[in-house]
């Protein structure tokens, strides 16, 4: 009889684990559709950067209030989840509060710490819900914040509140059951769930048992569903990708845009120089300058897209967006991710050569990519070091070098540089005339 809940638990756990692994493998497949990328910084520097930026939330603290609230949710996530170990073992072994007896009073202390963070998470998520839905902060709006991204944001907050409420309810009913049901051993008192006890004190022992078991199951099944939800396709993936993305971040001056190696060789040959890279180019290999679609971007650009949690700090700082232009750096990342999901699904369903006659330009318009001043305000603002600018420049490269499709005034600028060595139409012979008036 007792083995049935254990079996159900084991099956659910295995199923949840399997589905998460499938999602991870899908996301990994999608990211690896991108072109090669080699972070130039040393491994110790990358660890330091990840520790400060992801673990240490360095960039979040540019906005102190959301940073503190976010810190509670983040610590709550890390700390309260430690309790998952006991819950999982209890579920599998059919035990109850496995660690209570061996840890003794330390167990009481730890659960109290967990409860503190559970309450902090509830409070922070409630404030976040108010900020999103009642205060209407500008950065939570915008044309890319359509129905799904808005719902996604609210769902995450609501689920987190429900999970924490279940955790507290479970502890409150557990304490009431202690002394009434021999299965519930004394754990010492829990300060925060203790406040809920008066709510349930009128219930009979059997009702309390149902309440405690329900809360326990809702909590654990909720966690499994939430984990699957996050890895299926939610913006909340940042809890995982923040670490990877900062580890692989470009730790070079923000102003530097990579030099295209494929161009270097051709230019060297044109100028009669000996190419520095002498590996023969394969004439059969398809070559494309810039990015028409997601596969033309680097895998780091694609990981950027999965790391984005749509907080809008980039768009809020973007000079083009502030002055009413169509460009929104957040939309660049969301579009890249949506297109990547589409391309990945197409390839998995119809094979690698499948063409759907669409490209990233069906998601991101020329008007958007042309409005960027490459000022890097978005990159600076991003807490997880995403670069929308790299994607924009890659798309400009495609338009200019593959299609010769640039605004007329840019074409004039190009020909001025080519013919007059300056972006304006002045005679190169006059370049030193400024010194005449000294």
């Amino acid at each position: 009889m007792h083995i049935v809940p254990q079996l159900i638990f084991a099956v659910l756990l295995a199923l949840a684990g399997y589905c998460i692994l499938r999602s991870i493998s899908r996301i990994r497949f999608n990211i690896l559709l991108g072109k090669s990328y080699e972070p130039s910084s040393s491994i110790p520097d990358r660890w330091v950067n990840m520790t400060l930026t992801a673990l240490g939330q360095r960039k979040m603290f540019k906005k102190p209030l959301p940073a503190i609230l976010h810190l509670f949710v983040y610590l709550g996530f890390l700390i309260v989840n430690a309790e998952m170990l006991e819950i999982a073992l209890d579920g599998l072994l059919g035990t109850h509060r496995l660690f209570a007896a061996p840890l003794g009073s330390f167990y009481t202390f730890i659960i109290n710490v967990f409860e503190f963070f559970a309450v902090a998470v509830i409070v922070a998520c409630a404030i976040f819900l108010v900020r999103r839905n009642l205060v209407h902060l500008k950065r939570f709006t915008g044309k890319e914040m359509t129905k799904w991204p808005t719902l996604d944001a609210n769902l995450i907050l609501i689920i987190e509140i429900v999970l924490m409420m279940a955790f507290l309810t479970m502890n409150a009913s557990d304490q009431l059951l202690q002394g009434q049901n021999e299965h519930y051993k004394a754990t010492g008192s829990f300060a925060f769930s203790g406040l809920l006890m008066p709510l349930f004190s009128g219930l009979s022992a059997s009702s309390l048992l149902v309440l405690e078991r329900s809360a326990w199951w809702i909590h654990i099944i909720g966690v499994m569903i939430f984990a699957n939800y996050v890895f299926y396709n939610s913006k909340h993936l940042h809890i995982f990708f923040a670490f990877l993305n900062t580890y692989y971040a470009r730790l070079i001056p923000q102003g530097e845009i990579d030099n295209m190696a494929s161009v270097t060789k051709e230019v060297q040959l044109m100028l009669g120089l000996t190419p520095t890279d002498n590996t023969p180019t394969d004439p059969a290999a398809p070559m494309r300058f810039g990015a028409k679609d997601v596969q033309d971007l680097t895998w780091k650009n694609l990981m950027d897209a999965y790391s984005c949690t749509e907080c809008g700090r980039c768009t809020e700082q973007c000079p083009a967006n502030i002055t009413g232009k169509l460009l929104s750096p957040r939309k660049i990342m969301m579009d890249t991710r949506d297109r990547l999901e589409e391309v990945g699904n197409n390839i998995r369903q119809h094979g690698a050569d499948h063409q759907d006659n669409k490209s990233l330009f069906d998601y991101i318009s020329d008007e958007e990519i042309l409005a960027c001043t490459t000022c890097n305000a978005c990159v600076e603002a991003c807490p997880v070091q995403i670069s929308p600018v790299e994607i924009i420049v890659q798309m400009r490269r495609y338009r200019v070098m593959e299609e010769s499709k640039a605004p007329g005034s840019w074409n004039a600028m190009f020909s001025n540089i080519e013919n007059n060595q300056a972006p304006w139409k002045f005679s190169p012979a006059d370049r030193f005339n400024w010194a005449d008036k000294l």
């Binding site: 845009i257 051709e266 798309m395 300056a422 972006p423 030193f432 010194a435 008036k437």
Partner: protein, 264 residues
């Protein structure tokens, strides 16, 4: 060109068998734009005044390729870069000072992998070093004493390369009242000219970026907007004109402020 204000050309120095410590990279705006040429001349006056060993390339200088690269024309950029590197390496250039943050960023960050390795200094840092070493001494009661000055961070100097303090240190010696705009340093708002925007009309929007930025500068109550970039200079000057404030608010480059203060 008076003898006192002679600008040494790298080619001439080489012919005379002389060398120079630092190459002054003037840039296209500094060479051709009427307003920005005054910045170039101010900076040269300071260099001459302090007997700095420097040279310019004159007509041998060419666009770094920055606007082409950022507009997506990597071919043109690398063509420019490699020809410039041939010229610079030909003169054995080790150190470059420039008044343009766009040239600065490109020469510093994007030329090395193409074979051009130089120590790059923006003129704000160069001036700060001259002040720190005591070579450039400020007059006791300069013309900007007590005036409200606000400094506009250039994206390609600030966020792009982390130079925030040097320009402010330079302004401090003017003994002026330095006021910050709300969006400054890492949060500085772009003037609207970077990424090739200088060379095309802006996309449709509700406002021009330079007007948004100029309004912010005006709100500080400053009578001088200090710039450290030729593009910012153009954009902010236009912004001040747009707000019809050109009689009360002036846009100056750091080099101009120092030169004026020194009576050069």
């Amino acid at each position: 060109m008076s003898e006192l204000n002679k600008v040494p050309l790298a080619a001439e120095l080489l012919a005379e068998g002389k060398s120079f410590d630092v190459l002054f990279w003037v840039g296209c705006a500094g060479s051709f734009d009427e307003r920005v040429k005054s910045v170039t001349r101010s900076f040269v006056k300071i260099l001459n005044h302090l007997n700095i060993s420097y040279a310019v390339l004159g007509t041998e200088e060419s666009c770094t390729g920055d606007p082409a690269k950022r507009a997506g024309n990597e071919f043109l950029f690398q063509m420019q870069a490699m020809s410039n590197i041939q010229v610079l390496n030909g003169y054995g250039v080790k150190r470059i000072v420039t008044t343009c943050p766009h040239c600065f960023n490109t020469l510093k960050n994007e030329y090395p992998s193409l074979g051009g390795n130089y120590e790059l200094v923006h003129h704000s840092t160069f001036l700060q070093e001259l002040i720190d070493t005591g070579q450039l001494k400020m007059k006791e009661s300069g013309s900007f004493k007590g005036q409200k000055i606000t400094y506009h961070d250039s994206c390609y100097l600030g966020r792009a390369n982390g130079v925030y303090e040097a320009p402010r240190k330079v302004l401090e010696v003017l003994d002026a009242d330095l006021v910050e705009m709300k969006r400054c340093k890492t949060k500085g708002l772009c003037c609207g000219a970077g990424g090739g925007q200088m060379f095309k009309e802006p996309e449709k929007g509700t406002k021009d970026i330079n007007v948004e930025r100029t309004e912010e500068a005006i709100a500080t109550g400053a009578t001088v907007i200090a710039a450290a970039c030729p593009f910012c200079m153009t954009m902010l000057t236009d912004g001040v004109k747009n707000k019809e404030k050109e009689s009360t608010i002036k846009v100056y480059d750091l080099a101009e402020l120092i030169a004026q203060n020194e009576g050069l």
